[in-house]
Symmetry: none
Subunit: 402 residues, 2 copies
């Protein structure tokens, strides 16, 4: 039996409400670059510290020790899905990141504009076309809205990137890229790597043949390349697995998309942390699991902006009373991964985690920082194990065996 399935098998429905508050990239490191302090240590966060003092704390490895996750695997783990078991194709992640809804049987590709000459690619990024240009170019491609009975949906992304989504029935996604990966080569034919995807390969190749002439008069962006063709992963929903009625409160499309992949309701919300907590209040009766996502900690970390990360943490802390007023039965605060300011990137460092609730126990940790959480009563574990702890604390798990 897999570790995840013992949780599934024991899941019970009850009235208790769980809030999973994700401060994206919250974990950081003590380093010489910022006077050996972390943003959590530098920030004034009396509410988070009180939750840590009253509750139980620990550290979570996002995947396994040493592995740095992208946002996709990082969040899958938090939602109770082993990120090494459930892989999300790049095309799907890109589509989801642009706020595109995926249906079962859809096929999504990461695409980007390129330059070709005499049938050979000379620039795989078309001189990095700016975002506005890409919007104009995508408008041209939108002349193709169907191939036979398959709908074609095109959406521009950042820079030279866009997404092509094919909406049909059972479009197999075992396909090779059209990107030759280096210049001096022609656009590659898309090939099926399994029999279920022969029709999809034909479809993709027909799209390329039909679309290229629409770009013929472009000086630079006269071609495009497609990669990471993928279908919506066949992931059992959180309600199937955990008997939860989960709602997602997130501002950024990527995280809303990831939540939708595991069957969360996407609750409309505003743009600030206060908006998100207000949304939780308004919809409090409708769900028993709230995933609330705060992006600012990650963005500041990515920028190497230590003070910015401190500010976001203090914002969250000031906003927290509104969430605490709702008296969630179980509240967890953690991150999907660390984004240390000294690294300006996602990292492998374990994230601090706190769980607060009536039956969580109480360790001797009195402040929510990385090093304090080393001493916590939850010890070190991996993110995919968090969901079991949340369900348990909400008394939503039956006893295993007699």
């Amino acid at each position: 039996m897999q570790k995840s399935s013992v949780i599934d098998a024991m899941a019970l429905k009850n009235e208790k409400k769980i809030v999973l508050l994700i401060l994206d990239g919250v974990g950081d490191i003590n380093s010489k670059h910022f006077a050996w302090r972390t943003p959590l240590e530098a920030a004034s966060t009396p509410n988070l510290d009180r939750l840590a003092a009253e509750g139980v704390t620990g550290r979570m490895h996002p995947i396994v020790p040493g592995i740095t996750p992208g946002s996709g695997p990082g969040h899958l783990g938090l939602f109770g899905y082993d990120p090494l078991q459930w892989e999300i194709g790049r095309g799907v992640l890109e589509a989801v990141g642009l706020g595109m809804e995926l249906l079962p049987g859809d096929l999504a590709a990461r695409a980007n504009f390129a330059t070709q000459q005499d049938g050979l690619i000379t620039d795989r990024r078309a001189g990095r076309v700016p975002t506005e240009e890409t919007a104009r170019l995508c408008e041209k491609l939108r002349k193709i809205d169907h191939i036979d009975d398959v709908e074609v949906i095109i959406k521009p992304g950042l820079g030279h990137r866009f997404v092509v989504l094919f909406r049909g029935k059972d479009l197999g996604a075992n396909l090779t890229d059209t990107d030759p990966q280096r210049t001096g080569q022609p656009i590659k034919e898309c090939l099926a790597t399994a029999p279920d995807s022969e029709r999809s390969a034909t479809l993709v190749n027909r799209f390329v043949e039909t679309a290229l002439p629409l770009l013929a008069d472009e000086p630079r962006a006269n071609a495009f390349l497609m990669r990471g063709l993928a279908g919506k992963p066949n992931i059992p929903s959180m309600s199937e697995r955990f008997k939860l009625t989960p709602g997602c409160i997130a501002v950024y499309p990527m995280y809303r998309g990831l939540a939708s992949l595991v069957g969360m309701d996407l609750i409309p919300t505003g743009t600030t942390i206060d908006d998100e907590f207000a949304t939780a209040r308004e919809r409090w009766a409708d769900y028993d699991f709230f995933f609330i996502h705060v992006k600012g900690t990650d963005s500041a970390g990515e920028d190497g902006n230590f003070e910015g990360k401190v500010e976001v943490l203090e914002q969250v802390d000031r906003a927290l009373p509104a969430l605490l007023d709702l008296q969630p039965d179980v509240l967890a605060v953690t991150g999907d991964h660390s984004t240390p300011a000294p690294l300006k990137a996602h990292s492998w460092h374990p994230v601090p985690v706190l769980i607060h609730g009536e039956f969580c126990g109480q360790d001797q940790v009195a402040a929510f920082t990385e090093n304090n959480c080393n001493q916590g009563g939850l010890g070190f574990f991996t993110s995919k194990e968090l969901m079991g702890l949340l369900l348990a604390n909400a008394l939503k798990l039956d006893k295993y065996g007699a």
Copy 2:
């Protein structure tokens, strides 16, 4: 995907240098036998303590909690190979421990002299023949240097033990022992347990038949038994798996042999810790991963020599500045297992570990001892996970997923 392979799949080549300094058997226990102190607590180790204070620490289970490893599995774990997945046959370990180089297709057996009478074994160890005797007896057996086109290489070991190595092409190693495991039984015929090893079985039996007459006039050692017949394991190298260029600096043949099994270069060195660190300096440009092995901690532990273990630790600490001068990007100090002086043997106790580097973070542990490392920012993990952490700290791992 297996846990190990996600590390492999993410491995990147860069210029950063990793040093893995193994103090064999370093871990110990606080017990009444030595005034409740451990050698690490008793030793004066200002350099190790500074590394712990600047870096991040934890405890490692060599295999799984409770399991005491031999040197083989202990080191495989450190090198990033799950010791429960990659088994090294006893014959191979014995050969490697005697400094014999193994080639793919070789077949190695642990052998030992025994006494027989009227075709029945009367003493399975021939009264524990001393080492010098064994050398003389092996010289007799060396009359057999080939069987057909298969080369036979014989090397004496400690006491009554020796190694027989058959060097041929694709010698299958699915074989039973010739050791009957008790007296009053004849030497057993070697049997193939898989069709690929029929030829090997015939070879082994022909060797026994040819060799026994050479010992006929020996009063005690007139027979020998062979066990643990094994071939060189088909282990992917560290350079294949982790894109490293690894070099081994170790004095003892066993550890050099283990390193060679995972594809490390065996760097010639002297006999002291200072020699080993000087070798690292001389060959610093040639490798991006150095495994440096110190044996004395284990030997002292095996002897129950608490003070001796303290002395070795202080020797290492005094020598350390020469290694630190090289400014490795990532330095880890730990052991392959504990060898507590009160136990006079390898043990299951988790070993203390420290990692030092620019992006390791810094916990609140200020001294390199077992109990201090309990509080560390690495938590408790298993040895096979160490390699992922070393690669991560050297920024040699790509992000998993987007």
